[in-house]
Amino acid sequence: MAITIRRLEELDGTLGFDCGNEPLNNYLSKHAWINQQKCSIGVTYVAVDETAPRTVLGYFTLATSSIPRDRLPKKHVRGLPPYDLPLILLARLAVDKRFAGHGLGRVLLSEAFGTALRVAGEVGCRCIVADAYRNMVGWYAKFGFIPIEGGADTGPQRMFLDIRTIRAAIGSGSAFD
């Protein structure tokens, strides 16, 4: 299998995608393309195999966001530049059930991190934030995501990963050889 990850295209086959989670299936088949091309509220990247280049095996969606400076607690504002706090949002990540368990999620996450690093290099984002489904919190934690406290008890868990941690991971490739 030769996997390629690229931006979602209009003709991609998204209807057959099934990750076992209806909202994530629906997002890909009904909203991802419109959000990307018309509403500009998220860019979706898809994993496809070269032998079936229109069949989506997995996907993730990225966007940028920020926290308005006037919402930052005063004790934290000191030392920060007078701007909103920018961040990168990993809004969704899913793998089709038929291809689960082969490391495709890790490949998608790695690609998302690569893109996040390039964006952070341009606009100065400090972190990646993911809204993780509760049953996936452990999976994200494995890659270093830390739960952000103070969210609702139900629904997705917001998680944090420092861009500097990703940079350090690239720089310490030999640690686990």
Binding site: F113, V123, S172, F176
Partner: protein, 131 residues
């Protein structure tokens, strides 16, 4: 059909070294080339290739700058060109901006995390970034 850009006479060739371009075309592509040449009133393959190259080069430079290539009909209907190879040169930095809801406690927690020392990368993260 074999599409060949013929070289110029020897005298000119001495002045500027020109490279030859040869491509084997499938019958459908051959028909397409012939039809396009007729439509555009191009007589030589060299001119055809030269014009195609100019157009392709322009498209690549536009996408490199992050510009979208749009066609607009007389009624104002717009279509955006999405060509996989062109998307490879497009900057990936044009991520859209979205608004997120944050509770006061979440903001505080996020700031504590982002202002502290970054966590050491986990083994899984190092492996993921090594691929």
């Amino acid at each position: 059909m074999t599409l060949t850009a013929k070289s110029k006479p020897k005298a000119a060739a001495r002045q500027i070294r020109k490279s030859k371009f040869q491509a084997d075309l499938a019958p459908a592509e051959d028909t397409m080339v012939r039809a396009l040449k007729a439509e555009l009133q191009l007589t030589s393959n060299s001119d055809f290739l030269s014009d195609a190259l100019t157009l392709f080069r322009w498209a690549v430079s536009e996408r490199k700058r992050g510009h979208r290539i749009v066609s607009e009909s007389s009624s104002g209907e717009r279509k955006i060109l999405v060509f996989p190879r062109l998307e490879r040169v497009a900057p990936e930095l044009d991520l859209p901006r979205v608004q997120m809801d944050w509770s006061a406690r979440e903001i505080e927690s996020l700031l504590e995390l982002s202002q502290g020392q970054p966590a050491e990368p986990t083994e899984a993260l190092i492996r993921a970034m090594r691929r």
